[in-house]
Structure formats: C-alpha cells, structure tokens
Amino acid sequence: MKPGRIGLAAFVAFGLLSVPVQAETIQVIVDKLVFAPVDVNAKVGDTVEWVNKDAFAHTATATNGDWNVTLAPKQNGQLVLKKPGTTDYFCKFHPNMKGRVIVVP
C-alpha cells in the first residue's frame, strides 16, 4: 500500500471511530453563590463537574432527591448522568442558589 493510501485509510478509520458520540465533561462554575451556566444540556453518560471557586461549602442537590454532590470550599465535585430527564437542583446551605440539568438519551 502506498503511503498516501495508508493516510487515507487511517483518516477513514479515525472518522468511523469518532462517529459514536463520546461522553463529555461539562463544567459548572460556582462563584459568588451562582451556578454558571444555570442550565446544563447534556447526554446520558456525560459528567457534570462543579468547580467551586467560593471559600464557602456548597452542595448541588437534586430537588427530586436523585443525587447530592458536596462541594467543599475551593473544591470540585462530579456527577455522571445516568438517565435522561430534567432535574432542578439547589444548594442545601444556600437554597437561593439554583440550577438545572437537562439530559437527553
């Protein structure tokens, strides 16, 4: 096989491999008692990572009780999204902090 064909084959193979959508990590910045962005749009299998920039402890707590992520001061917390649906969440310590995770299959 000529070098050019190897390149082409590799390109095609890479293209095929990358067709299935890979799981992503989506960051939510927690700064001065605000979740940003407020809405997270994700797919099943994606990970939400909250980056707590505050010197205060927070939580990301699903209002339906499905999950609860503790965010120590200046620490991150992660959640793998396992099922589709829209979940509102808040901080247990500061319930005026609110966000939403929208998961599609």
């Binding site: 008692l33 010197a55 205060f56 500061h94 319930p95 005026n96």
Partner: protein
Amino acid sequence: MIARLSAGLAARGLAARVLAAPGLAAPVLALCLLTAPVFAQGAKPGAKPTDPQIAHIAYTAGQLDIDAAKQALEKSKNKEVRDFAQDMVRDHTEVNKQALALVTKLNVKPEDNDTSRALTKQAAAKRDELSKLSGAAFDKAYVANEVAYHKTVNGALESTLIPSANNAELKGLLQTGLKIFQGHQQHAEHVAADVK
C-alpha cells in the same frame, strides 16, 4: 472577638481622624429608612454610615450569629438544628475572615457605632431569653430568631449598608454577604417549617 476588634480599633484619636477625613460621609448612621427597630436606633435623617462603620456593623452582625449558633450547639439535640447552626458558624466565620482581610488591606479601621451596639444589646437579650428554654421550645425559638435576624440584617444590607459603601471592594464583599445571608434566611425558613 468583637470586643477585641472594638478595643483595638476604636481608639478615639484614630476614629476622630477617620471621621474628620474629607469625603467621608457624616458619622451618624442613616438608618431611619429601615423598618427593623434595632437598625433605627440612633438614626438621624440625612446621614449615612461610613465605610469604617459599615465594616463594623457587618462584622458584628456575623459574630453575633456565630455566638447564637454556639449557644444552639450547646443546647440543641435536634440534628437539623445543629447542622444549621454549624453551617452558620462555618459561613459567618469565613465571611468575617474575608472582611478582616479586606479592612486590613484597605487600612480601614472598623468603628463602633450605635447600630453595632444596638445589635449587640439585642442579641444579648435574646441569648438570655433562649437560655431559659430547652428541647423543642429552644429549637423553635432559636430558628424563628434566625429567620427574623437574617431578615433584619438583609434588609439593612440592601437598603442602607450596600448603597452607602464607598469602597468598591467593601461593597462587593457586602453583596456576596447578602447572597449568603439570603441563603441562610431561606435555609432557616426550611428548618423552621420542620421544627414547628
């Protein structure tokens, strides 16, 4: 801590110099617009608090809530109430730590004033009142006071302290403080509904 702060910072000559500085607002607190009685004490129309006074009031308000939480941790056996009290100690300690760091950086000397004194006096009276209660009666009274106290402080922050603050960093810290205390008020309201 407050006593130490006050003693250290309320040296009269220093306070007088701060107050005499050009561009600073009149020393008497303009708290007449506030509805909460404690913040109205000593108010004179047309005046507004200075940055040194605002810093003192904010710090005092935080320290008083820490003291109230410590009393709750001594007396209460209710997990939700104790968790709430621990949250108050943790958050207010952090806010005051940031406040102290900021006033040190800005070389602002927090200055005792009528509002700080009224807050302290009222908190002492409440502490005495709560010390006579126990069990569910204490829990209910403590949490009800937390709702009322945060409401009062938040009202003062919104209507007087934040608008009166001259220094942008002080204003910023007060704004963050307001969001935290509004969160505490909502949290306290949730706990209040549970300890009814």
